[in-house]
């Protein structure tokens, strides 16, 4: 194709016609405009006057230019100009479509699929065999197959939440024969990419396809300086941009919500920015994930594990403070150990329990008052952890001596024992390896830990099972007992270095961690993970959506540890892994991950997703030529003086009409007119989804429903209005119909707050997934609805009960068909205390209108009418179908009645009581 800049020509030879233009110039120049005959008595005065300009009988140059331009436009138009012509893929060998299919692809996966589908179509037309591979899969032999067979598989290909691991192995699995490659790259550099590129180039031409959209990655959150430290990276580091990080987690009722939001501003050229998010511990401990708002990619999601959780620890020491003996204080080492990793509280036990600590540590406290004991027991039943340390006071007291104290795991023998002291036999005792089943199992034993004194447990039947750490001679060192949902742990030595060197060793910290008293502030080391099986609880897909792990096999700690370093893989998908006592998050993006752009060898053809689409210009040129000819008519008339004043005015008028109206008129005035339109009558509104056909159907549907309402009820709605939830005021509309389309992007934060205001102040939204809900919410629309509604304050829902007021606001209905008949409909759940009154057919339900109605019956299509008022779309078959459409209209009538009259019909429940009262 002949190219001139971005414009290509289908038949460039026709452009030679432009050479004829100069000839045309001379021809046109020679022909003067025809004269007008005019009767004029004053001609007697004109006789003998000569024209000044002898050349006036030639066509004016600008008119000539206009005509030449018109002819030139016609010539160019017939030469078939095409803007941004797509170079057709030449070649007839096999075609390999390689997709990176990583998390970075997820944000525009659909467009990549579309591109691949276009390639497959083309290959199918050319009869080329095709292979589609996902480089994130395990390397396997590449086999080519027919394009249509590959096309059927294309829809099932989804991106993976990890990076390709073994690109070199792919290079080895390539077929022998030559083939061309189309590489849909995610834009990131992956190890081995250059080698694979070299191998592919050796087989044939390689075209690379990259999206110019920036890639964002969220690094794991860490805790430091009293706040959560968040950081995000991007690629490429170009213009300033602002993203928002949303912290999500369950609210007190267990529903996942956004708990906090933090803006992150990337400066010019900044690749990575950090920010601190300060939250109260209650909120902070609830966070389960951070995500970059609005991005659907596993890289923009960072799951949090126990490392972010900071427990509230109440410290209570026994005995009077001995001034000046800090190092002997039973609490000193605990403070030192816990300060960086937990929120410490000190004070009296009564006060501290009110703050509901996670852990209460009693260091050498022997006796507690009865009320304290009861309060502690209640707290333990709710899942508290009571950690007690022995000490001189406990050894001297008779706590748990004869009968087991409820707050002690074991009975104690009187006095305890001393080993390795000046007055005793034997050496100080070392620790025995931790037994299997102990929370400390696997911790390395430092050699310098020795115990010189301890309290001794009475040998009871449960002693062995309650011992979780023992000395080398078998005497229990740490014992544990379950109380309700909580547990009591007794360390048989002091919390200071008086009885043992344990508090001085690193083991002390590890043991506190294992007891979940403290949490690690940093990512777990390989050694921490080793020796356990980690079971995935929640895994992320490439879009960053949490999926139930199901029966994914547990991973050995070593494998998980390597995945922590190398990034997740097919065996270790990103997610939350649970070990025996803690949970570890494996995220796509590590703390140190840097995003590196893929670099391609010189000369590689790189296509962008946003390549401007091919556009034929023939029509534009032809119409330009036509317009010029029309102007020429007017101009010729004007030159020859036949254009009267009236005609001139009308020409001016037409020209003004053709001009685009001033932008201001489009902005300020319509606001008011729109507000007037929406408020002078009742207006049913539908949310504009961006899908033109869908919006059109919604508008027609509401029109049809409006006509039915007008005919049958006292509701007389005006024509419906499409609402853009980003820009339009919502409070004018009592009712919004929202057809869910995957084409609709997620609303912005402002739109969500507007929608939430709308729902809170009495608006109603009818969500329609239009899929008959056959798949139980797993259809594309159903999933998109879940994403859309995640930001909305939607109360708990239930399937519409048989006695819901919607079943009787105007018509008595039992089901709510649209174009689909049987899909379930969800409304706000009735309060659990709703009770049925004797003799009434329905319960005494809540006041108020359900803020949302959710279903998939495609109501708008059933309601839709065309311009003549006849149904626009078929419903069902024959009479049954018409019956179903009638029922759909009845549902619509009931719904709008419900919106406008609320639970008025429910008030009938009070009729017997009112009659009773009147009778008296």
């Amino acid at each position: 194709m002949f190219m001139l800049g971005p414009i290509g020509f289908a038949t460039p030879l026709l452009l030679l016609g432009l050479i004829a233009l100069p000839v045309l110039w001379f021809l046109l120049r020679a022909v003067p405009p025809a004269p007008i005959r005019r009767r004029f008595p004053g001609v007697a005065l004109l006789l003998g006057l000569r024209d000044d300009e002898a050349e006036a009988d030639k066509t004016p140059w600008w008119l000539l230019l206009l005509r030449m331009a018109a002819v030139a436009a016609a010539i160019i138009a017939f030469a078939g100009p095409v803007l941004n012509p797509v170079e057709r893929q030449a070649g007839n060998g096999p075609l390999l479509i390689a997709m990176d299919a990583t998390w970075a692809d997820a944000r525009d996966w659909q467009r990549r699929l579309d591109r691949a589908a276009a390639l497959l179509d083309e290959a199918g037309r050319d009869g080329r065999p095709v292979a589609v591979i996902r480089l994130t899969d395990a390397p396997q032999q590449v086999t080519f197959q027919a394009a249509d067979a590959a096309a059927t598989r294309l829809g099932g290909i989804a991106p993976q939440p990890w990076a390709p691991r073994d690109l070199m192995a792919w290079a080895e699995n390539l077929p022998e024969d030559g083939f061309d490659t189309f590489w849909l790259s995610d834009g990131l550099d992956h190890p081995g990419r250059a080698d694979l590129m070299a191998a592919l180039s050796a087989k044939g031409t390689v075209t690379v396809f990259e999206s110019p959209r920036p890639i964002f990655a969220l690094h794991p959150a860490s805790f430091g300086d009293g706040a959560i430290q968040l950081s995000a990276s991007r690629l490429p580091a170009a213009d300033p941009i602002s993203v928002e990080i949303s912290a999500r987690g369950p609210d007190p009722s267990g529903v996942e919500r956004e708990l906090a939001r933090l803006p992150l501003d990337f400066g010019l050229g900044e690749a990575r920015v950090e920010a601190a998010l300060s939250l109260p511990p209650e909120l902070r401990n609830r966070i389960t994930r951070f995500e970059i708002a609005g991005l659907r990619s596993a890289g923009a999601v960072s799951l949090t594990d126990d490392s972010l959780k900071r427990r509230k620890v109440a410290l209570i020491g026994g005995g009077a403070d001995r001034e000046g003996l800090q190092l002997l204080s039973p609490l000193h080492y605990l403070r030192q150990a816990l300060e960086p990793v937990a929120d410490l509280m000190e004070g009296s036990l009564t006060d501290l329990l009110l703050a509901s600590p996670d852990v209460v540590i009693l260091a050498d406290v022997a006796r507690l008052s009865q009320s304290d004991t009861d309060a502690l027991l209640d707290w333990l039943d709710d899942g508290g952890l009571l950690l007690r340390f022995a000490g001189p006071q406990m050894a001297a007291s008779d706590v748990s001596r004869t009968a087991e104290d409820p707050l002690m795991p074991v009975r104690l023998r009187e006095g305890g024992r001393q080993v390795g002291g000046a007055m005793s036999w034997g050496e100080p005792k070392a620790l025995a390896p931790f037994p299997e089943g102990s929370p400390f199992h696997g911790l390395p034993l430092p050699e310098d830990v020795s115990v010189t004194a301890q309290v001794l447990a009475q040998p009871d039947p449960e002693l062995a099972s309650r011992t979780i750490a023992a000395l080398a001679d078998g005497t229990p060192l740490v014992t544990r007992k379950e109380v309700g949902q909580g547990q009591v742990v007794l360390v048989h030595v002091t919390a200071n270095a008086e009885w043992s060197t344990l508090p001085l060793s690193g083991l002390f910290m590890s043991m506190l961690e294992r007891l979940a008293v403290s949490t690690r502030p940093v990512a777990p080391e390989a050694a921490d993970l080793a020796g356990q099986i980690w079971v995935p609880e929640v895994v992320l897909d490439a879009y960053g959506q949490p999926q139930d792990a199901g029966d994914l096999p547990g991973q050995p700690g070593e494998a998980l540890a390597s995945a922590m370093v190398a990034g997740p893989g097919p065996d270790q998908p990103p997610g939350l892994y649970a070990g025996s006592d803690r949970r570890v998050a494996l995220n796509v993006i590590g703390a140190e991950t840097t995003l590196a752009a893929a670099s391609w060898p010189q000369g590689t053809v790189i296509e962008g997703l946003d390549a401007p689409p091919e556009q034929a210009l023939k029509g534009a040129f032809l119409s330009a030529g036509l317009v010029m000819l029309l102007i020429d008519i007017l101009a010729a008339l004007w030159v020859s003086g036949r254009l009267g004043g009236l005609a001139r005015a009308s020409v001016l008028l037409v020209a003004l009409l053709l001009l685009p109206p001033p932008a201001q008129a489009q902005q300020s005035a319509p606001d008011d007119t729109r507000a007037l339109e929406a408020t002078t009558g009742l207006v049913l509104a539908h949310v504009l989804t961006g899908d033109t056909a869908l919006d059109d159907t919604a508008a027609r549907g509401l029109t049809g429903l409006g006509e039915v309402l007008w005919a049958r009820t006292s509701i007389e709605p005006d024509p419906p209005i499409g609402v853009n939830i980003e820009t339009d005021e919502l409070s004018f509309f009592p009712f919004l119909y929202w057809p869910v389309s995957t084409a609709q992007p997620l609303p912005s934060a402002q739109a969500y707050s507007k929608l939430n205001d709308y729902l809170r102040t009495g608006g109603m939204i009818l969500f329609d997934t239009r899929d008959a809900d056959l798949s139980g919410g797993t259809s594309a629309e159903g999933q998109h609805l879940q994403r859309l509604a995640a930001g909305l304050n939607i109360p708990p829902l239930e399937q519409i009960p048989a006695d819901h007021v919607l079943t009787r606001t105007f018509y008595l209905l039992q089901d709510f068909p649209g174009r689909h008949a049987r899909g379930p409909v969800w409304v706000e759940a009735a309060p659990p205390d709703a009770e049925q009154v004797e003799g009434m057919p329905f319960r005494n339900l809540n006041d108020g209108v359900t803020p949302v109605v959710i279903g998939g019956n495609d109501w708008a299509s059933a309601w839709a009418v065309n311009a003549n008022g006849a149904p626009a779309l078929p419903v069902g078959r024959g009479f049954a179908g018409e019956r179903q459409r009638e029922m759909a209209y009845r549902f619509g009538v009931n719904l709008i009645m419900h919106v406008l009259t609320g639970n008025y019909k429910s008030d009938q429940v009070h009729v017997p009581a009112l009659l009773d009262r009147l009778g008296q």
Binding site: I36, R38, V43, L45, L46, L49, D51, G641, R642
Partner: protein, 289 residues
């Protein structure tokens, strides 16, 4: 022939009453009293008594007045001599021009003015006639109908009209209505002939605004109303200045002619209301200024 005559008569019968009515309406706007000559003479109104001079016939003596005293008196009446006014309306083709459909042809306006003047004069007792032999000056209302019939029926094949001095009464008045776009030599001859007879009067040049403005442009062939003359130009707009200069020169010449013979000259545009022109004509014919 008789059919032609009949149709013309009918069209005349249709057009005459409205034309007359219009002329009467126009004339009614100019209120005039008895226009005595402020001197003794023949008339109906009493002027003064004067003593009898020698030579007065006895028939003139007013005996009723004379009986009251010794002297004889003669009753004098105010002189109410009727003037003879001769009208000439250019009947040529050029007068049928109208620059815009909203304006009447110049001939219509000229005829209207002439008839309105005639109505006024006849009402005042003057004698009104047309130049030429068709209608010699006569008093009375019947003359109006005759004038109207002749004026609206007049059709001249000539491109431009030329006035004639025949039929003018000596020391009478005359009114010429034309566009004066043709040759001025006949006009000059007629004026001189009229001046020779002591006739004074007024020249009213009736022009269409298009003739005054020349709003044309582009390549144009101008033709006279009869098609006898033509002028072709490539740029009509370029001719405007020179045309206007020539028009102004013609007006100057007309004014000079008028001054020479003591006639009043004005230009009336058919786009303007006729009333002002009628007032001007009336004062001009009264012989003031």
């Amino acid at each position: 022939m008789s059919l032609d005559l009949q149709s013309r008569a009918e069209s005349l019968g249709q057009s005459l009453p409205p034309l007359l009515a219009e002329a009467e309406l126009l004339a009614a706007t100019v209120m005039m009293g008895e226009h005595g000559r402020k001197r003794a003479g023949q008339g109906d109104e009493f002027w003064q008594y004067r003593p009898v001079n020698a030579g007065d016939s006895a028939r003139l003596i007013d005996w009723r007045r004379s009986a009251r005293g010794d002297a004889h008196f003669v009753r004098e009446r105010e002189w109410q001599a009727a003037q003879s006014v001769t009208l000439w309306v250019d009947p040529a083709r050029s007068m049928t021009f109208s620059g815009d459909t909203s304006r009447p042809p110049k001939a219509d306006r000229a005829t209207l003015l002439a008839l309105a003047t005639a109505v006024l004069l006849l009402r005042a007792g003057e004698r009104v006639g047309l130049a030429g032999d068709a209608a010699p000056p006569r008093p009375g209302r019947a003359q109006i109908v005759k004038l109207a019939a002749i004026l609206s029926g007049a059709e001249d094949a000539g491109e431009y009209g030329a006035p004639t001095a025949t039929g003018m009464v000596s020391h009478g008045r005359a009114l010429f209505l034309s566009d004066f776009l043709g040759d001025l030599a006949p006009v000059e001859a007629a004026l001189i002939a009229a001046a020779d007879r002591g006739v004074r009067g007024a020249l009213v040049q009736v022009l269409d605004p298009a003739e005054e403005e020349f709003p044309f442009s582009g390549r144009t062939i101008f033709e006279s109303m009869g098609g006898g003359m033509r002028h072709e130009t490539q740029q009509a707009g370029d001719l405007r200045a020179r045309y206007l200069a020539r028009l102004a020169e013609r007006k100057d010449r007309l004014a000079a002619l008028g001054r020479a013979v003591g006639w009043h000259v004005t230009t009336h545009h058919s786009g303007q209301p006729a009333q002002a022109a009628l007032l001007w004509i009336f004062t001009a014919l009264q012989g003031g200024r």
